[in-house]
């Protein structure tokens, strides 16, 4: 699979204070990449920089092109980004919210047509929320809103999907459903997905690679296919304190370890 995103020596921060220090990693097509780290470790900052929403130093290239040099529209055609704070403030149907996802593909004065509406419904069906299409977005639960915004994120088939805590409002079952769907999108459509999460167990179950962030520094880049349990245990302990990783029916599960 080809390389989609290459990050080299990337630093970023707010008001002159660096939050991220010289990041280096790459994301390939067909790869689900999970960013893990404690609160304030710089996960969202990294995702915002990758999406071109935050100025950065160093290099961040999408399909060989420097992201900061792209216009908003060019970026949005290649990278679909789901931010943490999202959604509409005024009443609008779910279908209209998903149709907003086509904006980078439409002319300034152009409106979405029949084919866009059809694609938006398919996207909602893929996210398992097609029955919400005509509902007012504001009347949905947080979890339903998150699934709708996820449907909007993949409606235009971007090569790279960047998702900032897409599972934060989802229940156990919907979390599994969403992660399985993302994993399937990677395999079947060859998308690259970079997401950050607070749930290491879900990340270990579904992601192909884990990127570990601690206080703005990259402390681990683990391939789930080759990493061993002791390596996982020691890497995750850097983020969360003492933890144990258990293997059960082929799954790896993190539990809190004993303080020595």
């Amino acid at each position: 699979m080809g390389e989609l995103l290459r990050v080299e020596g990337l630093s970023a921060g707010y008001s002159g204070k660096k939050v991220l220090e010289t990041m280096n990693f790459s994301v390939n097509a067909g790869e689900l990449f999970a960013l893990l780290g404690a609160n304030g470790s710089g996960k969202s900052t990294l995702l915002r920089a990758v999406c071109g929403l935050l100025p950065y130093e160093g290099s961040c290239r999408m399909e060989g092109r420097e992201i900061r040099k792209m216009s908003e529209r060019e970026r949005a055609r290649r990278i679909s980004c789901l931010t943490q704070r999202g959604g509409v403030q005024l009443p609008l149907s779910v279908l209209d919210v998903v149709l907003m996802g086509f904006n980078p593909l439409l002319g300034l004065l152009e409106n979405p047509g029949k084919s866009h509406r059809q694609k938006a419904r398919e996207s909602l069906a893929l996210a398992g929320v097609e029955e919400l299409a005509e509902r007012d977005f504001l009347t949905l639960s947080e979890g339903q809103r998150q699934m709708v915004l996820l449907a909007r994120a993949f409606v235009r088939d971007c090569p790279l999907l960047v998702l900032d805590e897409p599972d934060s409002a989802l229940d156990f079952q919907n979390r599994h459903r969403m992660m399985a769907l993302l994993s399937r999108l990677c395999r079947e459509k060859g998308m690259g997905i970079l997401l950050c999460s607070h749930d290491a167990n879900f990340a270990m179950e579904y992601a192909d690679r884990l990127l570990l962030l601690h206080q703005g520094n990259l402390v681990g880049d683990l391939s789930m296919g080759t990493v061993t349990v002791p390596q996982l245990e020691s890497s995750l302990s850097q983020l969360y304190g003492p933890v144990e990783v258990l293997e059960h029916r082929g799954l790896r599960i993190m539990i809190k370890g004993e303080t020595r």
């Binding site: 679909s80 789901l82 931010t83 704070r85 999202g86 005024l90 609008l92 904006n103």
Partner: protein, 326 residues
């Protein structure tokens, strides 16, 4: 399907009310006109074409324009109470009109031009301040607008202090209260092209207005050049409001009531709802103007009527939202 039929019925009813209000407005007033009297060189014909028709057309245009602009402001600033005041357009226009009354003799053309220029300068100043702050986002524009609004209000108060209390102060106060009383065909033809051009621009960019109603980063992630687009849309909305209030004076509440009423009826904020808010705004202002010229022995400024209608509506809306959210 049921929802679409429901929307069609709402639209048809709104258009019907607007057309009826337009018809009534043409024939209501101190000088009573009958349909059969129009034609030939009669007093009724002259009153109809020189006073009643421009007044009614302007009330319709003002209702439509202020409601559409209000709807745009509310979406853009993600604030259900947003109105032209929020970025200083109304205060700037008032200061401009007062300057014309004080120093340019207060003629109709001078007052309209100065009010239009005042509104526009205030908005440009608010946009320039927000650009100079180096920060993105609707909130920066709102804060700059509040600052410009305060300065324009202070300038207006200073001008009122120096105004001749008998003539100039009364003229300023009357202008601020808004009226269609001295509407002429010239005023209508002077304001209408600007207002219609602004409206056309807003309708063409309606999808961008909705996108700007999202969180700043969310809109940028969807490919919107937020800063540029917000400025363009604000200038178009200012063109509409500036052109209208420059000849009518300030008209309160219409830009607030009509968009809320439209959203309440359609439970949506899409383009069709903006159009409906324009139709409802036109109908409401026509009705308010008919009341303004028929409830007393002398004409009442139309803002008094719109405020008296608007305040209870807002209170009802507030109670209703409280119920909705348990």
């Amino acid at each position: 399907m049921e929802s679409r039929n429901h929307q069609k019925i709402i639209f048809a009813a709104a258009v019907l009310v607007m057309v009826a209000a337009f018809g009534i407005s043409l024939f209501v007033g101190r000088y009573s006109i009958q349909w059969g009297e129009i034609g030939g060189d009669t007093m009724s014909t002259r009153v109809f074409f020189s006073l009643r028709l421009p007044r009614t057309c302007m009330a319709l245009l003002a209702g439509v324009g202020l409601s559409v602009a209000g709807s745009v402001y509310q979406s853009l600033f993600r604030n259900p109470l947003a109105a032209p005041d929020i970025i200083g357009a109304s205060s700037g226009a008032s200061a401009g009109a007062a300057a014309a009354i004080l120093w340019l003799g207060g003629g109709a053309v001078a007052t309209a031009l100065c009010a239009f220029a005042g509104g526009f300068v205030a908005v440009l100043l608010a946009l320039a301040l927000s650009a100079a702050s180096g920060r993105r986002g609707a909130i920066t524009v709102v804060l700059s607008g509040i600052a410009v609004n305060a300065v324009a209000q202070a300038v207006l108060m200073l001008m009122k202090l120096t105004a001749d209390p008998e003539k100039q102060l009364a003229s300023i106060e009357f202008w601020v209260m808004g009226s269609f009383g001295d509407m002429t065909m010239d005023k209508l033809l002077g304001a209408a092209p600007w207002a219609l051009a602004g409206l056309a621009g807003l309708f063409l960019l309606h999808r961008q207005v909705l996108l700007l109603g999202l969180d700043e980063e969310e809109a940028r992630a969807l490919g919107v050049r937020t800063t540029l687009m917000r400025r363009c849309i604000l200038l178009l909305a200012t063109l509409v409001t500036g052109a209208i209030i420059s000849v009518t004076g300030l008209i309160s509440f219409i830009g607030l009531i009509a968009p809320h009423l439209a959203r309440l009826l359609t439970r949506s904020s899409r383009f069709s709802t903006t159009v409906l808010s324009g139709i409802l705004g036109g109908a409401l202002l026509l009705i308010a103007d008919c009341l303004a010229r028929s409830i007393g022995s002398s004409e009442v400024p139309v803002s008094i009527i719109t405020s008296l209608l608007g305040a209870p509506f807002l209170f009802w809306l507030m109670c209703r939202k409280g119920e909705d959210h348990g």
